[in-house]
């Protein structure tokens, strides 16, 4: 079983919910991102989502758009992100999922990427603009390398399609909690609950919920139904605010602890 699934299942067995945090690798620079990752893991984060930057992040709101711009300005490349994952791996077995857009990976070469990502210690990949219909040229290589290609489901995904996608889920399913870009609106815990309950019945892997979860209260509400809660833009915003401050890591630690306590 994959590191992602087994980690989430182990938490489930203990009656706990998983906290997943998203940060953009290289914002403000890769060295700082690495420190932030260690701090998050020490503070109770169960799974790390690392965004690799793209020039045209079409599914992201302003917060993560700006983070991508900062990461690119600091010279972050996909290769650089893999190297950082390899460094984190020397100290931690935390599941790591890379998240981003397909073009940098297509450009890297799907086969080479799968090899290098596995060597670095990447557990999963989440590509916002690669629906299951277009995964043919990448998925076989990921499978060979033991990397989960995580499936996204949205509120607009119909019943039949959900059933099909959920049945093929790897690692965990990622339910997008609202129709919109990252970090844009308040979540509606009620409607999420209905969808997530349905998904859990269809899926053999745990269900994570993300997009728009900005406060410990939101996280707590979503954790009532989901196996894992993803917090992204709220943390990225905090990093932007404190990137020049000596208190950056303390702020990150408090953030993670508050969210972990709430779920």
């Amino acid at each position: 079983m994959s590191n992602i699934t087994s980690t989430l299942n182990a938490l489930k067995a203990r009656g706990e919910k998983a906290l997943i945090t998203f940060i953009t690798a290289g914002d403000p620079d890769l060295g700082t991102s690495e420190q932030i990752v260690h701090t998050l893991v020490e503070s109770g984060v169960d799974l790390i989502e690392l965004g690799f930057p793209f020039s045209d992040p079409m599914a992201d709101g302003p917060t993560i758009q700006f983070a991508s711009e900062r990461a690119l300005e600091s010279g972050t490349t996909l290769r650089g992100v893999l190297d950082m994952v390899a460094r984190v791996r020397q100290h931690s077995n935390v599941p790591i999922v890379l998240m981003g857009y397909y073009n940098p990976i297509f450009n890297y070469g799907p086969e080479q990427f799968a090899l290098d990502a596995a060597t670095a210690g990447v557990d999963g990949l989440l590509l916002v603009d690669l629906p299951p219909e277009e995964t043919n040229e990448l998925h076989p290589f990921l499978k060979e390398s033991g990397i989960d290609l995580i499936t996204l489901l949205a509120p607009t995904t119909g019943k039949e399609r959900s059933a099909r996608l959920a049945a093929d889920g790897e690692g965990c399913l990622y339910y997008v909690s609202m129709t919109g870009v990252t970090g844009s609106q308040k979540v509606d815990a009620g409607s999420i609950a209905t969808s997530v309950k349905e998904l859990k019945e269809l899926s053999s892997v745990p269900v994570a919920v993300g997009f728009g979860i900005s406060s410990p209260e939101d996280a707590g509400a979503v954790a009532q139904v989901a196996d894992a809660v993803v917090v992204g833009s709220a943390l990225v915003k905090l990093i932007a605010e404190f990137s020049d401050s000596p208190h950056l890591l303390d702020e990150g630690r408090n953030f993670a602890r508050q969210f972990k306590a709430a779920i």
């Binding site: 793209f54 045209d56 992040p57 599914a59 992201d60 397909y102 940098p104 603009d129 844009s184």
Partner: protein, 398 residues
């Protein structure tokens, strides 16, 4: 016809496809289904035809450019006058088609991205005609150089959203339109203006624009009694070119020539020639040739013409290039400006800067051909919108 593209999942060879967020997938599948029905629905087709005739003013004339022909001393040059359409460019052919489709799908709101503003104006126009809400996304840089079109859109009742991210041009306008669409997908129809984007857009826009080539083919057969030797059009995303080329694809004697924007030169880093100087990648929902760096980050395009200022190209052009069925060349800002002035002075036709790229290539092409031969050029739009840009380039203050 023997040429059959795309495949059922929207791929043109290795190009095209549907690289979008899951939130949009159901909407695209619904759109594909609705479009399939309309394609064979006589009532839809006759409604489309009626609006093209009575509202757009089709068929557009095919004009023999005698002075231009004499000037180059080579092949006969015929201009397909899309500049004479209502709203002044070929863009309206497609917006009529898509908005008629939107109405059948019960959508009351439409959105569009725009570069030069022609597609924005064409969308706002047809939205006004049918009383639909219209939001247009346009980059700050384009708003500056196309202020006339911005005001036209506002007069037509559209909201114009200024896009400040990235290079603040067409690429970024498309990103922002996609973001808006993800958020409002349940009740909003996205009217994409070119033969790019996720399936079924490249096919659908081609089909709606192919009226250009169908008419031109009949017209040239009528006046010359033969097919043209070459069909030439400018390429940004490539909608006027695809509309012109498509009905000629099976006619192997007709050279199909797409003219990309070379900006300051394809050897510099300031151009928009994605086929001539790009590599395969994925952006805006499709796989195609893109201007990108070694790490797969999209690079800034540059062209004096806002409508060509885009770092990608429609996937079907990418395929036609690889098949060798169409040729892709490029023309610099300066060459386009010279052609703009030449057509204006010699034929009394002020072309859009986009279309001036196609005209500029005649300088190379026409003299290579004999006077018995025929070149068909798509004059995709008129140049009123570009007067400020041209004046600026000539150092004239208006």
């Amino acid at each position: 016809m023997s040429y059959q593209q795309p495949d059922p999942r929207g791929h043109f060879g290795q190009f095209g496809g549907r690289y979008v967020a899951e939130t949009l997938m159901p909407a695209l599948l619904e759109l594909e289904e609705s479009y399939k029905q309309c394609q064979v629905d006589p009532s839809f087709l006759s409604e489309f035809e009626t609006y093209l005739k009575d509202y757009v003013g089709r068929p557009s004339p095919l004009y023999f450019a005698k002075r231009l022909t004499n000037h180059f001393g080579g092949a006969k040059i015929y201009l397909k006058r899309e500049d004479l359409n209502h709203t002044g460019a070929h863009k309206v052919n497609n917006t009529v088609g898509q908005i008629l489709l939107a109405r059948r799908m019960g959508k009351r709101k439409v959105i569009a991205e725009t570069g030069a503003g022609q597609h924005g104006v064409a969308t706002a126009t047809v939205a006004a005609l049918f009383g639909l809400e219209c939001d247009v996304f346009m980059g700050t840089e384009d708003i500056r150089r196309q202020s006339l079109n911005v005001f036209r859109m506002k007069l037509l009742g559209a909201r114009v959203h200024e896009v400040t991210s990235g290079t603040a041009t067409l690429k970024d306008a498309m990103n922002e339109a996609m973001r808006y669409w993800v958020t409002h997908v349940r009740d909003t129809f996205y009217v994409i203006g070119t033969v790019a984007g996720p399936h079924p857009y490249p096919q659908m826009v081609r089909d709606f624009q192919s009226v250009i080539g169908r008419e031109a083919k009949a017209q040239i057969l009528d006046v010359e009694g033969r097919l043209p030797d070459a069909a030439v059009a400018c390429i940004g995303g490539g909608s006027n070119a695809m509309g012109l080329f498509y009905p000629f694809i099976d006619d192997s004697s007709v050279r199909l020539i797409g003219v990309e924007a070379a900006g300051l030169g394809v050897q510099t880093d300031k151009h928009a020639a994605s086929i001539s100087a790009g590599r395969v990648g994925v952006l805006h929902g499709n796989k195609t040739y893109l201007l990108q760096d070694d790490d797969g980050q999209i690079q800034h395009a540059h062209s004096i013409s806002a409508g060509l200022d885009y770092p990608g190209v429609g996937p079907e052009h990418a395929l036609l290039n690889d098949l060798g069925r169409a040729e892709y060349v490029s023309v610099t800002d300066d060459e386009a400006l010279a052609a703009f002035r030449m057509l204006t002075e010699m034929e009394g036709i002020i072309p859009a800067l986009e279309s001036a790229h196609a005209i500029a290539h005649l300088l190379k092409l026409a003299p290579e051909l004999s006077p018995e031969q025929v070149i068909l050029v798509c004059l995709s739009g008129r140049g009123d919108k570009d007067i400020h840009t041209v004046a600026e380039a000539m150092g004239v203050e208006l």
